[in-house]
């Protein structure tokens, strides 16, 4: 079967973030970007299907500016066969629905059997592009997968992570869209051979006219008003001093407040 992974090029979540001058997003200059962590697990799951001979082709797709091509190159170097980069100035400031709409238009005639993506993007945390794509395609959908297996040629079994250590096992009729949780597998890294091979793999760059969409079709309905540090509500008493000094102060706080020790 033919499989697609949806990936996003995001700032490394370990970065120290500063706000941009407009106060509507983080200042992205000097940030290092990477493939969204959740999406790495989705790609690995498809590469496992390819290793097993179940998937014949694994395609990686992203929506984003020119820099986002780096995320696709990482996917190709890791083992994806080809890539699709949806890139158009009219998509700057897009919202999850617009992104899903562009993806839907790009893949409508591709004939994928399985589409995987990360549960959410580490930057905006919207948690909806996978489900929106499923909704637009009218395909079955499951979020928060921690396990996937094929029951037969037309049925995918998904372990969905619920709360309190519970898992729902659900069978989806293929074709289907699934978003995955982190930790479901151990994503492989690109080998040197993979990095070399990736240079010869095809990347299709598609703009709105290639998708049969006009700028008015991708007008965002969701707009950021502001991004700000969380309000300082209850705030910890911060201890300062040498490690030994703060350790002694912590021990006396712990003894006084908890009766432990």
């Amino acid at each position: 079967m033919k499989c697609l992974v949806l990936v996003k090029h995001v700032p490394d979540s370990n970065s120290v973030f500063r706000l941009d001058s407009a106060g509507t997003w983080v200042d992205e200059t000097n940030l290092s970007f990477t493939v969204n962590d959740f999406d790495r697990y989705a790609l690995e799951e498809l590469l496992k299907l390819k290793d097993a001979g179940t998937a014949q082709e694994v395609v990686a797709l992203t929506v984003g500016p020119a820099d986002a091509a780096a995320a696709l190159r990482t996917c190709l170097a890791t083992g994806a066969d080809r890539a699709i980069h949806i890139k158009d100035e009219a998509l700057a400031g897009s919202d999850p629905f617009v992104v899903a709409r562009a993806i839907h238009a790009a893949i409508a005639s591709e004939g994928f059997t399985l589409i995987l993506g990360g549960l959410q993007a580490e930057d905006d945390n919207h948690t909806q592009v996978g489900g929106l794509v499923a909704g637009l395609l009218d395909w079955p959908f499951a979020s928060a997968a921690v396990g996937l297996s094929l029951v037969d040629a037309s049925t995918l079994r998904v372990d969905r992570e619920l709360e309190n250590n519970e898992i729902q096992v659900v069978d989806l009729t293929l074709p289907a869209v699934v978003t995955v949780q982190t930790g479901m597998n151990t994503p492989r890294y690109a080998s040197l051979k993979g990095i070399m091979a990736a240079k010869k793999k095809p990347v299709a760059t598609l703009a709105l006219p290639d998708l049969g969409l006009a700028p008015k079709d991708v007008e965002a309905k969701l707009r950021t008003v502001s991004l700000a540090p969380p309000p300082k509500g209850k705030s910890a008493e911060i201890l300062t001093g040498s490690p030994d000094e703060v350790a002694k102060a912590l021990v006396s706080r712990i003894r006084e407040k908890t009766g432990v020790l």
């Binding site: 983080v26 629905f97 489900g131 794509v133 499923a134 959908f141 709360e163 096992v169 969380p230 912590l250």
Partner: protein, 323 residues
């Protein structure tokens, strides 16, 4: 005034707390308008009656074999005609695993994005203004959605309190408009994630390690403190995802919720998924190199610094204090 519809969540036996919280926030959003609830399920009419006592003027109880168990396809297809009939201004769903399924599926149907993980919702002339978090809780993200009806939002747990002393509402049963045989997502089972018998939920002292430990062999630093304090070793998702500790050590929304007398967070930034699982601890100590880490917003006392210097010093001080 707005018409607000909430989606109740239950496990077949009990309503989940998020259902009551959704009714709470729904009343604020509706500002005097009607607040209704939809409850899907088989053999749960008692739950529908209970919900009608908690702030829903009407509970629309959708029954049928296709919604006996939660599935994205069954719920989606049963909900769409209800939404068409009711024509609410706002639909509120829990920011829960089932909400992550349903909100985008319904949003796709109505041609607009959803607002997810909201803690506050204000309506202004048909526009919705939503307060949520981005960058894993590092920032508060205010967004606006316009030209969408209904506005679909998922609400973070704990964002609102339930309604007190609500006037009792009515229950109306309707048959699910989808047949079980037509479902393309089929419930197989609910099972427990693998476990070795470790139960952190009852622990009175927990020392947890987060992404900040950097490498599995460095866990020993945190483990030594746990042992010195006579406590259990916990972890954030980053640590269990990396396979450095088994899943049952994971504290947070998808792991275990804990409320020990003492919780020590080492190298944990305090992502919302972790915080919901430990914020009811009686006394919280946080050690993190990033002064802006959200964990310092829930901790009682904190140290900004290198955990590999602070934690061994603390272990030593604890050992000395015991003598």
């Amino acid at each position: 005034m707005a018409k607000v519809l909430i989606l109740a969540e239950h496990d077949g036996k009990n309503l989940k707390e998020i259902s009551f919280e959704l009714l709470g926030i729904a009343h604020k959003v509706a500002s005097g308008g009607p607040v209704k609830a939809v409850l899907l399920g088989e053999g749960v009419s008692e739950l529908a009656s209970k919900l009608a006592q908690r702030g829903a003027s009407e509970v629309i109880h959708v029954e049928g074999p296709a919604v006996r168990h939660y599935t994205a396809d069954g719920y989606r297809r049963a909900l769409i005609p209800v939404l068409a009939d009711e024509s609410p201004d706002v639909v509120l769903i829990g920011h829960t695993p089932n909400g992550w399924d349903l909100a985008p599926l319904l949003a796709a149907r109505f041609g607009a994005p959803a607002a997810t993980g909201c803690s506050k919702i204000v309506l202004d002339n048909g526009k919705g203004r939503f307060t949520r978090k981005a960058f894993n809780g590092k920032f508060v993200h205010e967004i606006e959605i316009q030209s969408a009806r209904p506005l679909i939002a998922t609400v973070e747990k704990g964002a609102s309190t339930p309604v007190e002393g609500a006037a009792p509402g009515t229950v109306r049963s309707v048959a699910a408009s989808v047949a079980e045989g037509d479902l393309r997502t089929r419930h197989v089972d609910i099972k427990k994630a693998e476990a070795s018998g470790l139960d952190l939920s009852q622990a009175s002292i927990i020392v947890s390690a987060g992404r900040g430990i950097g490498a599995p062999e460095k866990l020993d630093v945190v483990r030594a403190l746990a042992e010195a304090l006579g406590g259990q070793l916990g972890a954030s998702r980053a640590v269990t995802d990396a396979g450095w500790l088994p899943h049952e050590h994971q504290i947070g929304s998808s792991g275990v919720s804990v409320s020990p007398k003492l919780y020590v967070a080492c190298g944990i930034s305090g992502a919302i998924q972790h915080v919901v699982g430990m914020k009811s601890s009686s006394y919280i100590v946080a050690i993190n190199k990033d002064a802006d880490a959200p964990i310092f917003g829930v901790a009682d006392v904190g140290v900004v610094g290198d955990l590999f210097e602070i934690v061994p010093a603390l272990t030593k001080a604890v050992e000395e204090a015991k003598h």
